[in-house]
Amino acid sequence: MRALDFDYMLGLVPVLLGYVPLTLGMALAGMALALVLASLLAVERVAKLPVLDPLVVLFISFFRGTPLLVQLFLFYYGLPQVMSFLTQINGVTAAIMGLTLHFSAYMAESIRAAITGVDRSQWEAAQAVGMTQSQMMARIVLPQAARIAAPTLVNYFIDMIKGTSLAFTLGVTEMMGATQKEAAGSFLYFEAFLVVALIYWIIVETLSFAQRGLEAHLNRAFTR
């Protein structure tokens, strides 16, 4: 066993921190898009629209049933071969697209469960004051479902941050890709990957801390 090269590790920290914005940017973009898509999918699952419903079920089944890495390869390397207009797609876009579709499938299911968890009387009160279906969803049901779904959704966001590391397989030099390059130059693989692991860990822990604040905020209407 050899001693760890701490100087190397310390020197690597600022280099890798430079890639945090890209990592978080991809995760935030993916999360925002996935939230919108998952809410639409979940509302459809609750309303069970004809024609659309089996398609949504199929979508969710496929994106939950196949590995994220396979989906990323399919989009980045596969799709441009059959759809020529996608040849210009860059790795970052493909990664965000893959993360969005993959996680929206999972998130749709937890949002759907949260929607059905909103008390029946809330739906009836919204109908009784004359709201349309979409007003009822947007103003009353979804905000209350958000509170129920929040803990699970934050967990998916954490998963998504870690999932961005797969973008390096699409040639994106994000935090993981940068680490790979650094390690290949220094041959200090253990040090390099340990540093990047710690950075991911700290990001996730910071987020878990923020999660408690978010949940308290969403619960404010429900505590005496």
């Binding site: 009387s121 109908q127 009784a128 004359g130 349309t132 009353i140 429900f222």
Partner: protein
């Protein structure tokens, strides 16, 4: 003028309605009494399509809805002419007391926010909950929640206010304040259709009392007649039991 003809609900869950006919004059206060499971709440819920009637017509002002072929648009229009007070209050849990009142004014009636808030504040004063304006329902007592529920209904300026056992879920200590508020609403010549088990209140507030059993209107008339000189044996039996 509100006119209900042959309102029928026979299938699905819950009590049935067997062809209810009902005329309601503007400003009239009608109290519906009768044994539980007899269709009183179902009647109210069918009037704004929270429960869907299968047959019959409902006319509110110039809007006539035929239950058998009611469209989404008609149902929405009907709901926008009526207001509903729920037994379990059903305040929007994610909205403050003030927002519960402004919500429909802004979202449904498209009133400017400032106007809606002014209206809400004047109603909050009227229901004695000015200082609870920013409280969420979870922080209000049952009586306070129901007062907001009535305030939310008042704000709609509906042609008909429906009250579905508004005091039945309340602890006894809160019943009085809710009935007091309903008396004040009645003084404003609001057309009211009330299902309640509060017989004293019914006698005092009603222009007309309707006794229902088995999904039918068995007997109706002024409170003195129904309470002091009921004509039907079923009405007499029921009143003996609740006294």
């Amino acid at each position: 003028m509100i006119e209900v003809n042959g309102l029928t609900k026979g299938f699905g869950q819950g009590p049935v309605l067997n062809g209810i006919d009902l005329m309601i004059e503007p400003g009239e206060r009608i109290v519906v009494i009768g044994p539980s499971g007899t269709g009183k709440s179902t009647l109210l819920r069918c009037l704004n399509f929270l429960d869907r009637p299968e047959a019959g017509t409902i006319r509110v002002g110039d809007l006539t809805v035929d239950a058998a072929k009611a469209t989404k648009t008609q149902i929405l229009a009907l709901r926008r002419r009526t207001a509903f007070v729920f037994q379990n209050y059903a305040l929007f849990a994610n909205k403050t007391a003030q927002e519960n009142i402004t919500e429909a004014l802004v979202t449904v009636q498209k009133k400017p926010r400032a106007e809606a808030e002014a209206r809400a504040n004047s109603i909050l004063r009227e229901i004695g909950l000015e200082e609870k304006s920013d409280s969420y329902p979870a922080a209000l007592s049952g009586g306070q929640q129901q007062r907001v529920g009535i305030g939310r209904a008042m704000a709609l300026d509906a042609q008909l206010m429906l009250f579905d056992e508004p005091t039945s879920a309340l602890d006894p200590e809160w019943v009085g304040e809710v009935l007091d508020l309903m008396r004040r609403v009645a003084e404003q010549h609001q057309t009211m259709l009330i299902v309640t088990h509060e017989m004293q209140f019914a006698r005092e507030i009603a222009d007309r009392v309707i006794f229902m059993e088995g999904g039918r209107i068995v007997e109706q008339g002024p409170p003195e007649q129904i309470f002091d000189d009921p004509q039907d044996a079923r009405t007499r039996t029921f009143l003996r039991r609740v006294r």
